[in-house]
Symmetry: C2
Subunit: 614 residues, 2 copies
């Protein structure tokens, strides 16, 4: 599949955009006209620069408000087009995007528009270029790809074809099936965009909230399958208007974009059915290596400046220390099958507190191959003599995911940390879920990373009110529910106070008992206000003895049709805190109703400047 990206997707100057697209391995780019106009380089220099960077210039865009006009304006528009065709010749670009008329069309007569487009085709012919006509979702008369296809058929000019943009088609709820009736040679260009499912006027939705494939709610695999069945073999491009991408590092965005197209290729292959291909397929759409869901969360690695405080906290929760790694400055703590690797932050690089996640998978090298194909940067583990070989990749926020073969039983690498100290109380069973707060620049990319690399399913996102702003939370889970990750989007503008801590939740079969045992070891949980317990009393018919215990132990409570959820939190230690949860029945949530109370309690704690774990 030939890949392309519109320069409007990336931040910075045109030069910076070209470098980012090239570095991320795109085959080509679309030149977004305002980027050209604002560039101090001449068209010839831009052409040469793209050539040096190994990029083809696939499309010049957009040309607007051409067809359906009166004769005088048509004359002006043809003159305007000729000037742009001459410019395309200087750039060496063969195809121009023409958007259906939004502002100046007086007539919706398709015969008239076709005749005018035929004239445009004649002018294009003089310059040896082609025009790809695209129906904008908010076009004055032409707002569906089927209408655009009819007009192109009527115009019947070899220099005139279509541009298909998944956003304009799917945002209107149009069925993409009829794409298959379009002759491949009339599809000049394809732009793929995902988007969250919003009810917003389609223009604002399009201009601000598009996403790369795999980050939103559109079924793009099916869309692509229709396209492939036409025999189309041109570039598949990304034209994503997104307020965040406009502000983020262009290289990080470009890699995210490239990953989205690799994932889309895989989804397309799946939608076409195995063997990939089908009737007229000429586009190659290779699937990704399929991976089984992880058998368990092997370990979680925390990097923090507060190692002594975390040691104390883990001890209070019943973890036991295994001592330091024999060659590296990290130590292991275990409780049941939950393992925490603890160390100070690596100097010299930014590192999130949850710095690593180890997963037990059936075939680590296959998992790595999939990740590599999805442009995940590989991080070889620094291995000492006799260490278990582990393979890993880094996520958008710089944290690492390692794949190991250990399954259920104690993994080999545990012995690298020596012998455990004391008995395993065994009350904690495993890691229940991870809550990874993400800076705003990495949120959408993190969704795509975990969704595609680890094949996790996304749930609907929710918003939680914190004292410093709204926090958007997106849960992803493996098919077998072993790996559950909540990605939290930190409000962008709230400054220091808004750095939400990350957290690990451990599962237990008896959270009240564990809370009691921890308290006997000096543990002090996060204080939950008494008003909270008054409220759940009013909300639920709750057993008074249970309510008493919850209140006494600062354990929170939630209930739905499937079951109950009991959980407590530690105080934040620097940028991390821990949670212990008990799921009763088939409760599958995370106590979202309790999150604002927890966030307020943490904020209160920070504000009060209390000593931690006194």
């Amino acid at each position: 599949m030939r890949t392309s990206i519109a320069t409007v997707c990336l931040s910075g100057t045109l030069d910076e955009k070209l470098i980012a697209a090239s570095t991320a391995g795109f085959d080509g780019v679309e030149i977004f006209e305002p980027d050209l106009i604002a560039s101090p380089r001449s068209p010839e220099e831009i052409r040469d620069r793209a050539g040096e960077l190994g990029l083809t210039l696939d499309l010049y865009q957009p040309f607007r408000d051409f067809e359906g006009v009166g004769p005088e304006l048509l004359e002006q528009n043809l003159r305007r087009a000729a000037a742009k065709f001459a410019l395309m010749n200087r750039l060496g670009i063969g195809t121009m995007l023409l958007c259906s008329n939004v502002a100046t069309a007086r007539s919706g007569d398709e015969q008239l528009s076709a005749a005018q487009l035929r004239q445009l085709g004649d002018v294009a012919d003089r310059f040896g270029v082609r025009v790809a006509y695209e129906a904008l979702a908010w076009g004055r008369f032409v707002d569906s790809y089927e209408a655009a296809a009819r007009i192109v058929r009527l115009a019947d000019h070899p220099r005139l074809g279509l541009c298909l943009d998944s956003f304009h088609i799917l945002s209107r709820g149009h069925n993409p099936e009829a794409i298959e009736t379009i002759p491949a040679e009339k599809i000049f260009f394809v732009q793929m965009a995902d988007a969250p499912l919003l009810s917003l006027d389609v223009l604002s939705w399009s201009r601000h909230h598009r996403l790369f494939p795999g980050e939103g709610g559109f079924d793009l695999g099916t869309f692509m399958a229709h396209l492939v069945r036409t025999g189309y073999d041109g570039p598949v491009s990304l034209e994503i208007f997104n307020d965040t991408f406009r502000q983020a590092d262009p290289l990080a965005t470009a890699i995210d974009a490239r990953r989205s197209l690799r994932w889309l290729e895989h989804e397309t292959a799946a939608a076409l059915g195995a063997p990939a291909g089908g009737r007229a397929a000429r586009m190659s759409t290779a699937g990704l290596p399929e991976v089984d869901p992880p058998a368990d969360v092997n370990y979680v690695e925390l990097r923090t400046d507060e190692v002594p405080e975390l040691r104390r906290l883990l001890t209070q929760l019943g973890f036991r220390p295994h001592g330091e790694h024999r060659t590296k400055p990290v130590e292991l703590w275990t409780h049941g099958a939950a393992r925490v690797v603890l160390g100070a932050p690596d100097s010299g690089r930014p590192q999130p507190t949850v710095a690593g996640i180890g997963l037990s998978v059936g075939d680590p090298s296959r998992a790595l191959r999939r990740a590599r194909e999805l442009f995940a940067p590989e991080v070889p583990r620094a291995e000492g003599e006799g260490d278990e070989p582990l393979v890993g990749v880094s996520a958008p926020d710089g944290s690492e995911v390692f794949f190991g073969a250990g399954r259920g039983a104690q993994p080999m690498w545990v012995s690298e940390f020596g012998t455990p100290d004391g008995d395993d109380a065994g009350m904690i069973e495993r890691v229940d879920h991870l809550n990874l707060a993400q800076p705003w620049q990495h949120f959408d990319a993190a969704v795509l990373f975990f969704h595609s690399v680890l094949d996790l399913r996304t749930e609907a996102s929710v918003e939680v009110a914190a004292p410093v702003g709204l926090v958007r939370s997106q849960v992803l889970r493996s098919r077998n529910d072993v790996l559950r990750i909540a990605l939290n989007l930190v409000p962008s503008g709230a400054g220091e106070d808004a750095i939400l801590p990350q957290h690990i939740a451990f599962a237990t079969a008896d959270v009240l008992e564990l809370a009691r045992a921890a308290r006997a070891r000096g543990f002090r949980p996060l204080d939950i206000p008494s008003n909270y317990y008054d409220d759940i009393e009013a909300r639920y018919q709750i057993d008074p003895a249970l309510l008493h215990d919850l209140r006494e132990l600062n354990v929170m409570y939630d209930r739905d049709d499937a079951g109950e959820f009991l959980h407590f939190y530690t105080h934040p230690i620097g940028t991390v805190f821990l949670e212990v949860v008990e799921r009763r029945g088939a409760y599958a949530g995370y106590g979202a109703l309790n999150a604002p109370v927890r966030l307020a309690a943490q904020y209160q704690h920070r504000r009060a400047g209390e000593g931690v774990l006194t």
Copy 2:
């Protein structure tokens, strides 16, 4: 007018919210339930705290999903309500907000809902409290205030009345006129919210984009006039869900909120017609002192670390120096009627680069009185012996607005700077407009400040693409067009690079001549790419000689039906740059199409790390 504000409008803990509301001079607050639940203070302590702070607790909110349900759920709901009424007794709150049922209503039968509400009224009676029923715009069956009013009438219970929320009424396009048919004693509470005019699903619009009155697009003066005519005399409250306010300093938000209600009172008086009052009016709605638009922009004060570079730049543009102020470390530069006061930043306080604006007004003390009534903090000018007395106030970003009486001719205070040096070339006529980039926290507040304090009209806002993100731009102008301010919202997340400079635009009758004269003095304008001139050539039928001059002198061009606009920019000097504009015909815009090119050129300039003004 009795004023109140919902705690949900403000960021921080409940304590911090109460302090902010009290400091800003609100009479009371609505307690938003999640704020109470998350507070470590007991209900009694909260009641006492509010009392100490001089705040009444006007409303407990929200209670949800009560009416239109089956008998079993009704039983539960009555029990749930009784628990909240008991809590209200502890808080000393007399009124509870009940939202129309969104989730659990099975029936839209108004008789049934009225009967159930009557039962609720009986329970409320036991606790001596009242219930204010509000139709949510997205209620399952009840989504208009007229339906809610019918049900309240049917229920006919002294403990049951209405809450009117301008957002729920105006966002649906409902006519507020029928408010006048509601008996005042049945209006238990009023919440006023403004909002930008968006086409967004009403739930998202409501939850994220509400604004304080005067910051959005609703006609709230008319709404209030209907209300006043009922004889309603209760609190007018603000319940604003806004993503920005949730993150901003609560005291700044509270002052902004208080200002919005004072402005609303004024608008209400105007809508009622003079003399304010009318038939049944019991609520006092005092107008503000009316002010004439400014006769001219008397001066603009720049505070910058780059004083020498700005001196050079002003000289190149034909300004002449008057020397230092006789007692203060600032100097005056003039050109025609344009005056720039230049100095280094005051130490010890954050200060925007455009640190002050002086306006000539007919009656400075009246202008100051209006500003004071709108809670603008007064900034007395430090006056030396014999200095002209000027009075001023500070805007949300800390810049200052001074009112002086000088009209047209040279103001008295100019002599405080000694005698000018050299001739006045006289090519610059005046300040054309100011472009005040605002940090995200202050944008909406700045709109309200200039709109209300200076009585400026708002134009529709536009969005401009910059290399570091989208910039929202909102123009405000005085009725006589003498004062024109563009407020630019800097993207919140883009870090250092996103600090947009502020700028002053000066008006001239011949921008090309001025550009030539400046060049002869060594001026180097902001470089505009050649591609830009190719584009305007393709876009407009432009005279080749003019195009040549524009290109040669780096002057930009725009045209609309009213006229033409020619303008050039200086390089940014630190956080400020200057612009010179020529308006031909009745052109009234600002060259918005050119803004992305200018932003990119400035970004390019910064990126290239060029020496400035070589």
